[in-house]
Every structure is written in structure tokens, then in C-alpha cells.
């Protein structure tokens, strides 16, 4: 084989080859070791490399403020993240593949649980380092819920809904009012009606209630707009968004334009994580079922769907209300993470953000929404030191994505959990492969 034919691309492919055999389990274990490493030696290492403390966002903020730190940051990221993860993943590929196969053989549930626990451990340890990380992680998880729920309407159903900030607002305020009125001593609402100790246990119920209220709000949008198809949902949902914002600005009883504070801090990382997983799980289940795929049928050919026994009105209504439900839950969590909510948050800017996340990540795709939400938030945080220029770069980036991949980065992709968790190579084959070489 002539050396001239080994181009860069094929060289990279060859380098990646051993890593392509690492199962998800291997990556998670590698990441866990990395964050553990950061916890134990992160601070002294950072100081040694010239940074004042552990870089909270992989060094982006440091680098943008002080470019001299670039070499130090690169070394840090290499030593703490890239090398440990890479090494562990590569070296443990065989046992990890065996373990992954064993878990899947036991039951899908066992495999999923193990992976989720690992994932949670990684997030927990990672965000333990600083309050900022904890906040960003939780807000990103909420963003995932928002993006995913909007994708159900804009991606799977092919509509253009602008009312998500409104649903979020309804959920945020509902949750806040119930939490505070029932469980908190508050200047405005007086003493708690129920023992505060019960609060955290009532929180799930409060969140479900918030979702329900948002769903009822969704009816106000759906009923007028579903009688006709086309762009009417866009306009009506836009009007709805303005109305909700204006409503809360004028509702003095919940603080009006000044907002409402004092929500108890029940939205801890495990709680937010659990609700996000629940959201991803239910939505993924839904869109993979025939009932859920009916959304695509309605989007791509409503007349044909009608003729194939699909109840199109019910399908649209269910999807819309379901999406609003999760937006409401996300809103409720959002309010309790910040401990404060005000109507100004749920404005056009929020709409632009959530639309950006959906379209950037990819329409009609659970993976796309997760990727979109996480990368958008990461980018938004990482570019924070650039201040105003952030809002030139991010929109430009999105425009580029729209031009070259109009439906988003990872669109129309099925989220096959089994495929994600299965061993990337049969353990026996691994033996064979080594022997053949």
C-alpha cells in the first residue's frame, strides 16, 4: 500500500478505529474517572498551570479573558479530560463490551439504570466543583426539556409554534404560587398552609399541576388554530405568548412586572435530572409508537392520514397539549432553580433561544434536541466574556447551520436506546481481531 494514498482523512479514520469499539459504558466510566480526577487534583493542577482556580467551563472563559492562558488550559483539558477518558475507554474496551452485553442480556431496564446512575454520578461530581457549574447543569437540563417538547410540535408535527415561552411562564408561575402559598412563610401570601416539611414530597405533584395548567393554556391556542392548517398556529401562538407575558405583568397579586421570588430550593440536581430523564423517556416512547408517528403522517400528508384511519385532530391536539405540559414542568423547575420568576423572562428573546435550540440541534429528532440544547447552552456560557459579540457569533453560527443543514444538525434520527447501550463489538470478535493482527 503506497504511503501516498494514506491521506489525512483515512489516517484519522484509522486512529479513531479502536475508539469506535468502545461501548457507551466505557465512555461513561472514563468520564467518571476524569471528573473524579478533577475533584482530587484539579485545583493544584490548575494553579500549577497558571490559572487561579479550576476552569469551570473547560477553560473557555479563561481563554477569552486572557489568551496567555491558552497553553495552560490546553494542558489542563488534556490531562484531566482527554487523556484519562481516551485511555480508560480504549484500555477497558474489552471488559466493558462484555459487561455491556451482560447487562443487556439481564434486561434492558438493568442496562439503562446502570448507565443512568453513571451519568448522574458524572454530572453530580462535575457540578460539585462550583455553584456556577451546578446552576448551568440544571438550567441546561431544563433547556433540554424545553427543546425536546418544542421539537414535538415544530419538528415531528411540522408546525411553527411560538407559544412555548407562554407555556413555560404558566408553569413557572403556577408552581411558584403553589409552593409559596402552601409551604412557605411569605410577606405577600402569609404563613404556609401546610407543614413546610412536606414540601419536597409535594413538589412532583406541584410540577404535574404546572404542566396541566400549561396544557389547558395550550387548548386556548389549539382550538382556534387547529380548525385550519397553515401558518395560523404561528400567529395565534405568537399572540398568545404576548398575552401571557402581559397578563403576568399586570397581575399584581403575583408581583406584576417586578416578579415573584421566594421559591424554596427544591429543584436540586437529582430532581431536575430525574424529571429530564422522564421527559426524554416519555417523549421518545411516544414518537416511536405508531400513535406518535401519526404526527409525521399529519405533517407530511394530512389527507392521506385521514384516509388511513388516523384521527388527525386528536393527534394534533394530544401532541400539542403534551408538549405544553412538559414546557410547563420545565417552567416550574426553572422557577425553583432560580428562586425567582418574572414575566420579562418569557419574551421574544426566550422564544428566539428555544427556537434556535430546536432548529440548531435538528428537527424530528430526540438526539438532535438534546445536542441542540446542550451545545447552545454551552456556547452561550462559553462566549459570555465576549458580551455583546456573543450575540453576533451565535446568530451567525445558526444562520450558517440553516444555510447548510436547514433542518438542523441531527434531524430525522431515531433515538434507539438499545443501539446506544449495546456493546460495540461482540467480545468474541474482539479476541479474534486481536489474534488476526
Amino acid at each position: 500500500m503506497s504511503a501516498n494514498h494514506t491521506g489525512i482523512k483515512s489516517r484519522l479514520q484509522k486512529m479513531w478505529q479502536p475508539f469506535s469499539q468502545v461501548p457507551m459504558l466505557g465512555w461513561l466510566v472514563g468520564a467518571l474517572v476524569a471528573v473524579g480526577l478533577e475533584m482530587s487534583v484539579g485545583t493544584p493542577l490548575a494553579r500549577f498551570l497558571g490559572m487561579s482556580k479550576i476552569p469551570v467551563l473547560f477553560g473557555f472563559t479563561f481563554v477569552l479573558k486572557d489568551p496567555l492562558l491558552i497553553p495552560g488550559v490546553i494542558v489542563y483539558v488534556l490531562l484531566i479530560y482527554i487523556l484519562p477518558i481516551g485511555l480508560i475507554a480504549r484500555l477497558t474496551a474489552r471488559p466493558m463490551n462484555r459487561l455491556a452485553a451482560k447487562l443487556l442480556n439481564t434486561s434492558m431496564l438493568a442496562s439503562v439504570l446502570v448507565h443512568l446512575i453513571l451519568l448522574y454520578a458524572i454530572l453530580h461530581l462535575w457540578s460539585d466543583i462550583s455553584d456556577y457549574r451546578l446552576l448551568v447543569t440544571r438550567l441546561t437540563l431544563v433547556a433540554v426539556m424545553l427543546t425536546l417538547s418544542l421539537n414535538v410540535v415544530n419538528g415531528y408535527m411540522g408546525e411553527f409554534s411560538c407559544s412555548h415561552p407562554g407555556f413555560m411562564a404558566l408553569g413557572a408561575y403556577t408552581a411558584s404560587v403553589f409552593s409559596i402559598v402552601l409551604f412557605v412563610q411569605d410577606n405577600r401570601f402569609g404563613p404556609p398552609l401546610l407543614p413546610p416539611g412536606l414540601g419536597p414530597f409535594a413538589f412532583p405533584l406541584i410540577l404535574i399541576l404546572s404542566g396541566a395548567v400549561s396544557a389547558v393554556g395550550a387548548l386556548l391556542v389549539a382550538i382556534p388554530s387547529f380548525r385550519t392548517r397553515g401558518d395560523y398556529l404561528a400567529i395565534i401562538s405568537l399572540a398568545f405568548m404576548f398575552i401571557v407575558k402581559s397578563l403576568f405583568e399586570n397581575l399584581e397579586i403575583v408581583g406584576g412586572a417586578r416578579g415573584l421570588g421566594g421559591q424554596p430550593h427544591w429543584a436540586s440536581l437529582p430532581i431536575v435530572f430525574l424529571w429530564t430523564i422522564l421527559c426524554i423517556w416519555t417523549i421518545n416512547n411516544f414518537v416511536r409508537s405508531t400513535l406518535g408517528k401519526a404526527l409525521n403522517a399529519v405533517r407530511d400528508g394530512e389527507l392521506a392520514a385521514d384516509a388511513m384511519t388516523v384521527n388527525t385532530s386528536r393527534t394534533k391536539m394530544v401532541a400539542f397539549l403534551f408538549a405544553a405540559f412538559w414546557a410547563g414542568v420545565a417552567g416550574g423547575l426553572f422557577a425553583h432553580i432560580l428562586g425567582y420568576v418574572n414575566p420579562g423572562t418569557f419574551d421574544l428573546k426566550k422564544l428566539a433561544e428555544v427556537l434556535a435550540m430546536v432548529y440548531f440541534g435538528g428537527l424530528n429528532s430526540v438526539v438532535g434536541s438534546i445536542v441542540g440544547a446542550v451545545s447552545y447552552n454551552a456556547l452561550s456560557e462559553a462566549l459570555r466574556p465576549l458580551e455583546l459579540f456573543k450575540w453576533i457569533i451565535i446568530p451567525l453560527l445558526l444562520i450558517l447551520v440553516m444555510i447548510f443543514r436547514p433542518t438542523g444538525l441531527i434531524a430525522f434520527k431515531d433515538f434507539d436506546v438499545r443501539k446506544l447501550l449495546e456493546p460495540k463489538q461482540k467480545p468474541e470478535e474482539v479476541e479474534h481481531g486481536l489474534a488476526a493482527r
Binding site: S246, N250, W391, L396
Partner: protein
């Protein structure tokens, strides 16, 4: 009665801005089947262009470059400002079309809508970066023109307000004539009717698209300049405030209907002014949008639109 007439005049003025901006939305929606969410910010840019043009012109006058009696001079500056801003802003609009929308001509319309949103954000941020947070004002000399109130039918009204309404109506009429009577206007109407077939008949989509954006942006600039002399203090987010409401007005008027967009713009102006007259101003948006929502519930295609219609009608 005087109360009603007084507010009527204000409503007409306020509505003029909405109507002129709504026309841009309506035309782009009618001819190109897309929502140009950057249009509100094009209005903002037009207003700022007017600010700079007028300042420059007044500077020229101040240096004695041209010598004519003063009130006439100021009037001339104003007219030139309006004209030049419209021309310059049409280039801005065409640039937006060329850079942001043309690459997405065959993409799903939602992607184009997102692009528009992003362009709008870039325009707003660009303004903040270039001009800073300080609020800019239209030159006092121009703002003063025609601001001494006169009494008509017991109502106190400034000639400026009347002029604004008259100019707006004149521009709308000019647009109507253009679309109705010129070859390019006919081409635009044909495009609105059949997006796909028309280019096959030798009508170039790219030129029509540029033209549509140019016209819409010119009208937005007119609205911007007129707004500037009526409410001199500008800010980078004025486009957001006006733009979205004008957008809803355009939809209310009916897809691609110039007459409809104009009427709906004035209607929105009326609603806002009269609501503000009776209710606390914080309720203004709430009530205005609720009314619009109710109208759209019963007539989702707007005043002059038809369900699924694809015509730029007048």
C-alpha cells in the same frame, strides 16, 4: 366628541407606522411565502439611517453649502432625508435578502424564519456595538417642524401629525399603483400566485425577491423617519416592539393584501390608542392582542385573505 377626534388623530398617526411596516411583511409573505422576522429591525435601521442622513444634511446647511430661506431649507432637508433613507434602506433590505434568504430559497420555510430572527438579533446587537447604549435623538430642528398645534373642529392637532398620515397614505397609494400598473408589479403578483411556474416563464425570482424586499424596506424606512420626527428618541429595540405587532397586523390584513395590511395597521393603531385612553397603559398590549386573537379565531385568514390563497391582492 373632541375626545374622540383628538384620539382619532393620534390613532391615525400611530396606525400609519404600523401600516407602513405591515406592508413590508405582507408583501414578502405574499410574494415569497415567507415571514421576514428581521423586518422590524429593518425599520429600526431605517430610522437610524434617517437620523444620520438628516444630521449630515443639516451639517451641510450649517456650513453654508446651500443658501435658501430657513423654513424652506428645513423642509427640503426633511424631504431629502425621507427620500435618501428610503433609498439607502432598500439596499439594506436587499442585502438581507441576498445574504440570508436567497440561500434558503428551497429550504423549509421555518428555517428561513429562524434565519430572519437571527438576522434581526445581529442588527440589534450591531447597533448596540457600533452606537453604544446611549439613546440617539432626531435633530431638534427637524422635530420642530410643524409642531405648533392648530385648532380644527375644536381639536388641537399639529400639522406634523397630519403630514405624517398624508405621507403614509401617499406612499401606500404609490405602492398600490406600482403593483397594479407596472410590469414589475405584475411580476410580483404573478409570483404570489404561482411560485414555481412563474420563473419557468422567464420571470427571474431573484430579481423579484430583491425588488420585494427593496420596496418593503423603503416603506419601513419611511415609517422610521416619520416615527423619528414624531417621537425623536430612538433605541436599538424599537424594531422589536413595533415589528412584531406590525407582523400580527399584516396577518390580520390577510395574506399578501396591501389594502388589508394598511387597514389592519390603522386598526391596530386605533385599538392601542383608544385602549390606552380608557385603561391603564400596562394593559394596552394585553387588550390589543386579545382583541386580535379573537378576530383571528373567527377569521384566521384575516380581512382580505383567503384560506390557502396565494395572491398578492389589493
Amino acid at each position: 366628541m373632541t375626545f374622540f377626534l383628538q384620539n382619532m388623530v393620534n390613532a391615525l398617526q400611530w396606525g400609519s407606522f404600523y401600516a407602513l411596516i405591515a406592508l413590508g411583511y405582507s408583501m414578502v409573505y405574499g410574494v415569497l411565502m415567507l415571514f421576514n422576522f428581521a423586518h422590524g429591525d429593518i425599520f429600526m435601521v431605517g430610522s437610524y439611517i434617517g437620523l444620520f442622513v438628516s444630521t449630515a444634511l443639516l451639517g451641510l446647511v450649517g456650513f453654508g453649502v446651500i443658501n435658501l430661506p430657513t423654513p424652506f431649507m428645513l423642509g427640503l432637508v426633511l424631504v431629502l432625508t425621507l427620500f435618501l433613507s428610503m433609498c439607502l434602506n432598500s439596499f439594506v433590505g436587499m442585502a438581507v435578502e441576498r445574504i440570508g434568504y436567497r440561500p434558503l430559497r428551497n429550504a423549509p420555510r421555518a428555517s428561513a424564519a429562524i434565519t430572519g430572527l437571527m438576522i434581526g438579533i445581529i442588527l440589534e446587537t450591531g447597533n448596540l456595538i457600533l452606537l453604544g447604549a446611549q439613546r440617539r435623538k432626531y435633530p431638534d430642528e427637524l422635530v420642530q417642524i410643524g409642531s405648533t398645534p392648530i385648532q380644527i373642529l375644536g381639536v388641537s392637532v399639529t400639522p406634523k401629525k397630519i403630514a405624517i398620515v398624508v405621507v403614509s397614505l401617499a406612499l401606500m397609494f404609490a405602492l398600490h399603483q406600482f403593483v397594479r400598473r407596472t410590469k414589475w408589479g405584475m411580476a410580483m403578483r404573478a409570483m404570489a400566485y404561482d411560485y414555481i411556474v412563474v420563473p419557468l416563464m422567464g420571470v427571474p425570482i431573484n430579481t423579484i425577491a430583491l425588488l420585494t424586499f427593496a420596496l418593503g424596506s423603503a416603506l419601513a424606512a419611511a415609517a422610521g423617519v416619520l416615527y423619528g420626527i414624531a417621537y425623536p428618541v430612538l433605541d436599538p429595540y424599537m424594531g422589536v416592539r413595533f415589528g412584531w405587532k406590525a407582523f400580527v397586523a399584516a396577518i390580520l390584513g390577510g395574506r399578501g393584501s396591501i389594502l388589508g395590511a394598511g387597514l389592519a395597521g390603522f386598526l391596530l393603531g386605533f385599538i392601542e390608542i383608544f385602549v390606552a385612553a380608557f385603561f391603564p397603559s400596562t394593559l394596552r398590549d394585553l387588550i390589543a392582542f386579545s382583541i386580535i386573537l379573537v378576530i383571528l379565531t373567527f377569521r384566521p385568514h384575516g380581512f382580505f385573505g383567503e384560506p390557502y390563497s396565494a395572491q398578492l391582492r389589493l
